[in-house]
Amino acid sequence: MSDTLLKVKDLKIGAKIYPPGEKPKDIEIVHGVSFELEKGKVLGLIGESGAGKSTIGLASMAYGRGGVEITGGEVWVNGREILHTNLRDLRRLRGMEVTYVSQSAAASFNPAKKIMEQVVEASLHAGKFSKKAAEARARELFAKLGLPDPDNIGERYPHQVSGGQLQRCMTALALCPEPDLVVFDEPTTALDVTTQIDVLMAIKEAIRDTGVAALYITHDLAVVAQVSDEIMVLKMGDMVEYGTTDQIINHPQEEYTRDLVSVRSTQHDGKPPTDNPVLRVENVTARYKGTNFDVLHNVVMDLHPGQTLAVVGESGSGKSTTARVITGLLPPRDGNIVFDGRELSPDLEGRTREDLRELQMIYQMADVAMNPRQTVGTIIGRPLEFYFGMRGAEKRKRIIELLDEIELGVEFMDRYPAELSGGQKQRVCIARALAAKPKVIICDEVTSALDPLVADGILKLLENLQKIEDVAYLFITHDLATVKAIADSIAVMYQGKVVRYGTKAEVLSPPFDDYTDLLLSSVPEMRLGWLEEVIENRKMESAGN
């Protein structure tokens, strides 16, 4: 077939792992994956973390990242086998015929060089275009990708544009040398939902207009459904299902694919507010030390005992700052935090041990929220020791109870955080918070770093624990699907203000204000053609533009 651009046959990839306390060993992380990609088509690679999707994406450039080695199979690009070519030919291939867009544009751009220099670098290096022609092409691409002021944006430095814009600059960088194939590795995952839509649309149009083929790697099925022609579902280095987008989304054959399509099974009926909120945020205005503008303006919200209040907003909307004010890490300039009828001291030092015990916190990154040098037993046991003076057998018994509540066995007690999976880590953090027997737990984006199926498990766990322990959650998130699944009441925040607040039913029923409407409509839906519809009907520009 002449129009086959990329052919991957029985690709096997191995890696060396270093288990703590053991000899390094070789494992296989991709077990014989095959697919073909025609010119101008988009193939979505989807799977959870560890599925091998990024590894396969990079292997199509004959590249193995950090200790990863391609151990078998064939990769054909433009009719040439590239796994066994010499480095010089590979260098021409990479960056000219096949280019790469990574997840974090902010980490991939050199902060000391102007954007334009970096966008044209590959083309100039290979001598494909003259400097003038390459820059003209870059400007054309900037315009096509909908970047503001396309003629001059290249003169800026990476920190002078927003995250969504930088991700588009990176797409321009990848498209500039007129490649045949672009590998997109989670290009929108780090972006806010409303920004994600713009970048997604820009990428989709750019692919259509330039006629390049693309591998689109993501964990979000709803996103990939918008841009790709075909989808391959991967799990633990094996292909699960491979078909057209329509087939996968509307008629999934495999159990695993069905799980992915129908994830978010948690259901929650909103409870009505009570008369005595356990936590009141009263007219809080706050600013960070050394700055001269307020990041929170008159924030008001109530949390009722045994219920969940979801605080929703995009990055920079002040939701995490609200949490810092509540916990006492950032004393407010004005306003009060009232806990269980008593006013809390504005700063941490002024709070009693009892105040601290009743208000616990769970963090987004479970990785850094646990001391890597302490065992799970120490991590969960410390609050027991600290607040209740438990020791020895009594403490051990309670730790086992808590481990049981988070659905982990007693054998986890002596493990270190590095020996746990992402979901297990977050469970241990939940147990640490529960150990203090708090009345309120602040959950700061607790599921956003997790795979959808794992996140779903954590949400179910939190839901169950709420019933058992009668604890209230202040749930900070940017993900509206999560909110729908767990909240009793919702506060929508935008630029440091609460723009919409009420019970779940009130907040999620029309008429909407413009921002809530934008936020709600931006949540990717798992059906074809959704992206075009949303862009069509939008009332408000996204914040990232």
Binding site: L329, R351, L356, V368, A369, P372
Partner: protein
């Protein structure tokens, strides 16, 4: 266990040898340190493996006893500098505010004065005893350790698990010793090796200048000083302690490099 690279093996061997010699000096040394057993600057023979020194004492015995002094002073000074430096550095990072400012500026002030000159001034006023020597060296060196410990701790201090401990209401003592110290240990241990070498060089320099270990006791620097006049006549006695200092420095360095490599290896993670 990871395989030990050959360079580190060589380092471990010589470091071990010198420390062994230092610990068991009394049993190993063939002669007493101060006894005059032969002629001045005898060449090496079966009786005196390294020959004799400027007044006819056995050089090998003096080297072994000298190594004991050198290594003892260097070790004690390093331990002193690490305990003071890291505890103060961690405290400054965790407490912050004016305590951090005061400590850091004071350390800057001390560091702005060349260490050797500072030490010479202090030792020329104070009585030169082993204790004094260790105190001066240890405290002067602790300023360097302070800077490292503070820099490492400032990074760890902003991690979520430290914030979690603060929100739990933990005191500074728990945060410093239980949350920060275990995570800061690897860079500190590696730095310890380097600091030990500097201490060896420093005490040797002081003794060479006559302000370190006082005769008839000697450390390696002192032995160089005693025998330096022999060089003019082609007598290699002064080179022996010089070689000892150099090989000890290099071998400890090799070990320190290996430890640093091991603990900061991206593949192995924080082991």
């Amino acid at each position: 266990m990871m395989r030990i690279p050959p360079a580190a093996l060589i380092g471990l061997f010589f470091t071990g040898l010198y420390f062994f010699g230092a610990v068991f000096a009394q049993w190993i040394a063939p002669y007493s340190m101060t006894e005059i057993v032969g002629d001045v600057w005898e060449p090496s023979s079966a009786k005196h493996w390294l020959g004799t020194d400027n007044i006819g004492r056995d050089l090998l015995s003096r080297m072994i006893y000298g190594g004991q002094t050198t290594i003892f002073i260097a070790t004690a000074a390093t331990i002193l500098s690490f305990t003071t430096g890291s505890i103060l550095g961690f405290t400054a990072a965790v407490v912050g505010g004016w305590i951090d400012q005061a400590l850091s500026r004071f350390v800057d002030l001390i560091m702005s004065i060349p260490t050797l000159i500072f030490a010479l001034v202090v030792l020329s006023v104070m009585p030169v005893t082993l204790f004094m020597l260790i105190m001066v060296m240890g405290l002067l060196d602790s300023t360097r350790v302070y800077r490292l410990a503070r820099a490492v701790a400032v990074d760890i201090n902003v991690m979520d698990f430290v914030e979690a401990a603060k929100l739990r209401g933990e005191g500074n003592r728990w945060i410093i010793f239980r949350e920060i110290l275990p995570n800061a240990l690897s860079p500190l241990v590696a730095e310890m090796g380097l600091r030990f070498i500097f201490a060896v060089l420093f005490v040797s320099t002081l003794s060479f200048l006559g302000l370190g270990v006082q005769p008839p006791n000697a450390d390696w620097g002192g032995i160089v000083k005693e025998n330096k006049d022999g060089i003019v006549y082609g007598i290699p006695a002064a080179l022996v302690p010089a070689i000892a200092i150099a090989t000890l420095a290099i071998s400890v360095n090799l070990v320190a490099d290996w430890v640093l490599n091991r603990t900061t290896s991206l593949k192995g993670g924080r082991g």
